[in-house]
């Protein structure tokens, strides 16, 4: 989903910055508020940032014969909310654009929108719907993380098709870029969904109370299966 440095022409790079900046500012506000009101959420915040760090560093081979990487943002969106997730994503994207020449500073706004805002928002919405519909948490998390991951790449295709004319129409371009990303991404989205389920399950067991305080889950399912390894 990284649009490379300099690959978004004027006025698109400015537009995506203009859209992303207010959301990141809102995210910083949420971040300050949550660490003040619920200080014990700080380790969780670090954990979510770490999850995004690991997953977005892993370039994984896919069935199309090319490689892509997961985003790791869906789980964070469910637990910390999409606003805070946009801030965490920005840290990762700045790291990658400055040190790895992966993505770029001029395309930061657009990349931030796809990975840090659109994907997480969808993941958050899916989680909320699953909760309303009483879907099992494991399935809700899987769907949120996997579809959030896929949606990030759909948005990247959309951004590229808007900015770069390929074929006869916008739709041609969208299908073209979607073809590069979408199928490659499907197995990775499934893998990310599974990893998110594992970590969420651990958190529900060990940090159920905190997740309830953060209004992620309703009833903490503590003291259910506690194994002590001898």
């Amino acid at each position: 989903m990284h649009i490379m440095e300099g690959f978004l022409p004027h006025p698109w790079w400015e537009i995506w910055f203009a859209i992303s900046i207010p959301i990141v500012i809102y995210g910083i506000y949420r971040l300050i508020k949550i660490t003040k009101n619920v200080p014990e959420s700080k380790p969780l915040l670090a954990l979510m940032g770490a999850f995004i760090f690991v997953l977005s560093a892993l370039k994984i081979p896919s069935v199309t014969g090319s490689c892509s990487h997961p985003t790791g943002t869906g789980l964070s969106a469910v637990i910390m909310g999409p606003g805070i997730t946009s801030v965490l994503s920005m840290i990762v994207l700045v790291f990658q654009s400055l040190l790895l020449a992966h993505g770029g500073l001029t395309t930061l706004g657009a990349n931030l929108f796809s990975m840090g805002i659109a994907g997480p928002l969808l993941a958050y919405a899916i989680w909320k719907i699953c909760q309303k519909a009483d879907v099992k948490p494991a399935i809700g998390i899987f769907l949120a993380a996997a579809l959030g991951n896929l949606f990030t790449y759909v948005v990247t295709s959309f951004q590229l098709a808007l900015a770069i004319p390929i074929g006869n129409s916008f739709f041609d371009g969208f299908l073209f870029f979607g073809g590069i990303f979408a199928i490659t991404q499907i197995p990775l989205a499934i893998a990310e969904g599974i990893l998110a389920v594992i970590l969420f399950d651990f958190l529900a067991k060990y940090k159920g109370q905190l997740l309830a305080t953060l209004k992620v889950i309703k009833i903490p399912k503590m003291k259910k299966t506690v194994e002590v390894k001898q």
Partner: protein, 96 residues
């Protein structure tokens, strides 16, 4: 979920990652991001800005990617170990 479930789930992730390597022995496995970059360049588009700094070699690049993953992994591992240890200590105290 218990440890057995975790192991099965992680095994599925590993299988998902390995299958393409077995099924497509001759594929190049280039990056999809790079694929899009190439496709745009093919239209005659010239990037108007280039990276301020680029890793001088593939080795340095993989070093930095490994570093990124390691930073994340150490935090996740610390968190899980800390919480498990805390819980185990509580259990031992409760049983005394």
């Amino acid at each position: 979920m218990n440890n057995k479930h975790y192991i099965i789930l992680i095994a599925i992730v590993v299988v998902i990652c390995v299958i393409p390597l077995i099924l497509l022995p001759n594929a190049e496995f280039g990056g999809a991001d790079g694929g899009a970059e190439q496709a745009i360049s093919d239209t005659g588009y010239e990037p108007w800005f280039t990276s301020i700094w680029e890793p001088p070699s593939g080795e340095i690049e993989s070093l930095l990617f490994a570093l990124q993953a390691a930073i994340g992994a150490i935090i996740i591992g610390y968190f899980i170990g800390y919480e498990r240890g805390k819980r185990a200590k509580k259990e031992i105290k409760a049983s005394m």
